[in-house]
């Protein structure tokens, strides 16, 4: 079981108690696992694994169908998960929480269901250069289907949104603004609330990619006033295969279904059908039941630790990482300084390919991501092909950054000798 009363645990820097909740961090191979890739996927605390195990061991059954005890229990747990996750982001109603596979599917759902019906030639879709491909490709496809034009908010050399020409970009032609809350590469926290208000002022809808924000700090959909919010379970201590789309009720109600199949219908005739109410309308087929229950357990866990404490802890890690890494000769750190960002530090070492850096770091037990991070337009903006990204979460320790630092020096010793 996870440690019970954990409020403000991280404020007292008791990372060891938290680490104790993650079996994976206790495994003994040659080297301890130093996991600095939580922006790709976070580790899963034992209480989440146990919640899913309990489903499979004691009440595994399909939901919304069976007239028997365990099916009723599964249905209740699945719907409780919806309510729990709704509370986590302060949604007014649990019906505003649609379970999907992940952020990508959530965004595609909006681009197909809302986008296909509401966009036409002459309209514009506004995104930013720092989007993950999951918040770019669905809009590119929508643009190709409808003839709507895709426009971009650029970023500065410091890796923050360039908003001085916003009035030119955001006009009555703009039908939707789709932007990330936090950059998955740079960690930049975007001024979402202001941008949402500006978008609404010209009548545009707003979709927020919350994949990198919801796990790390308090995201309140009523305060942000966004029309849609998408996020993934596996980046917030939950399992893979479960994601969330939050939407404003009036929009969700007028949207057509995304996928057709079981569960999303009211009545089916040979040629046509009527659809179930929201959220069932958007959940065709048997959903990821265990994973929804697991995600609710993850949200419970994050609340017990406290999102505020997690944010403060990550800031400490980021400050320390910047301080240590900036000393290294030939390093380029991309993006803003700590306090303007969260979760990640992205960099390159002169003359060393990011894959090699990650490869050498692996030899000292440090897991980082190297590559384009599914954000090629952002890479192009910086004139690079790839970077190394170290990303942090509640279970990381300052000492792990020391090992990262040592690993980078080792890579430098090994790989910048006499290269042609």
């Amino acid at each position: 079981m996870c440690a019970q009363p954990m409020n403000d645990l991280l404020n007292t820097c008791d990372v060891e108690t938290i680490r104790n909740d993650f079996s994976i961090l206790k495994q003994e191979n040659d080297l301890p696992l130093i996991y600095l890739d939580s922006a790709a996927t976070s580790q899963t605390p034992d209480c989440v694994i146990e919640a899913m195990e309990a489903y499979y061991r004691t009440y595994n059954s399909n939901i919304h169908r069976g007239i028997y005890r365990i099916s009723e229990e599964a249905t209740a747990k699945y719907e409780e998960a919806r309510q729990r996750i709704g509370r986590f982001i302060n949604a007014r109603r649990s019906s505003q929480i649609i379970f999907t596979r992940n952020t990508t599917e959530s965004i595609n759902l909006v681009a197909y269901s809302w986008g296909s019906e509401n966009l036409r030639e002459g309209d514009e879709i506004l995104v930013t250069v720092m989007e993950h491909h999951s918040n770019l490709l669905p809009w590119q496809l929508l643009s190709q289907r409808t003839g709507a034009k895709l426009r971009f908010i650029e970023i500065t050399d410091e890796g923050v949104l360039q908003l001085d020409n916003l009035e030119e970009l955001l006009t009555e032609r703009t039908k939707i603004v789709a932007m990330t809350h936090v950059s998955n590469v740079l960690g930049t926290i975007n001024p979402i609330q202001e941008l949402t208000a500006a978008a609404h002022a010209v009548g545009a809808k707003v979709l927020i990619d919350g994949a990198q924000s919801v796990p790390h700090f308090d995201v309140d959909v009523q305060e942000l006033d966004c029309d849609f919010l998408a996020f993934s379970g596996h980046k917030m201590c939950g399992p893979t295969g479960i994601g969330v789309l939050y939407g404003k009720s009036d929009l969700l109600e007028e949207m057509s279904p995304f996928l057709g199949g079981g569960s999303m219908i009211r009545a089916v005739q040979r040629e046509s059908s009527t659809y179930a109410d929201v959220p069932a309308k958007f959940e065709a087929g048997t959903p990821a039941i265990a994973e929804a229950i697991g995600l609710a357990a993850a949200v419970d866990y994050l609340d017990r630790v406290g999102l505020e404490a997690i944010f403060v802890h990550e800031q400490e890690l980021l400050e320390y990482a910047h301080q240590k890494l900036v000393e290294i000769e030939g390093i380029t750190i991309y993006g803003p300084k700590p306090r303007q960002k969260t979760g990640a530090i992205t960099f390159n070492l002169e003359g060393i390919h990011p894959h090699d850096l990650a490869g050498v770091l692996d030899t000292v037990g440090v897991a980082v991501r190297a590559g384009h991070h599914c954000a090629q337009p952002l890479m192009q903006k910086f004139g690079i092909i790839a970077t190394v990204r170290a990303s942090f979460y509640l279970y990381n320790k300052l000492e792990e950054i020391d090992t990262l630092h040592e690993g980078l020096l080792k890579a430098q010793r090994m790989l910048t000798r006499r290269r042609r």
């Binding site: 894959h355 490869g359 092909i385 790989l415 042609r420």
Partner: protein, 132 residues
């Protein structure tokens, strides 16, 4: 086993057959979109024999070392032999096991060579595997 064996680092630092040819019979270039590694292969072929070749490009140690080793291996051999080279041959040259991501780095040079010589576009060893 460490993927940063001395042998690989030597090939990375002092690659064999690095550069370009003036009038190559075959010249082909490709990159790995996943990591941006890029390799160009220039070949001189006389009577079906690879008489000279050079590679150029940039990338990680594995992609560059594999290219260097491959050029050593095939210089003076029949062009037809290139067609028979497989993923396992490259792994044998490198002498280390590679995970799925780094495998692509290791195979880029052979991919470029096969595409240039025979128009074979896929990744070596990337055929759909039979499930039975």
């Amino acid at each position: 086993m460490n993927i940063y064996e001395e042998d690989i680092l030597d090939h990375y630092e002092n690659p064999s057959n690095y550069g370009t040819l003036e009038c190559p019979d075959i010249s082909y270039e490709e990159d790995n979109p996943l990591c941006g590694d890029q390799i160009r292969m220039d070949l001189k072929v006389e009577d079906g024999i690879i008489t000279d070749l050079r590679f150029s490009g940039h990338g990680c140690t594995i992609s560059q070392a594999a290219a260097s080793m491959l050029t050593e291996e095939i210089k003076g051999r029949r062009l037809d032999d290139v067609k028979k080279l497989s993923k396992d041959d490259i792994l044998e040259m490198l002498g280390i096991p590679l995970g799925p991501v780094r495998l692509k780095c290791g195979l880029l040079a052979l991919k470029v060579l096969k595409a240039g010589a025979y128009g074979l576009k896929g990744w070596p060893g990337d055929d759909d595997e039979e499930t039975e």
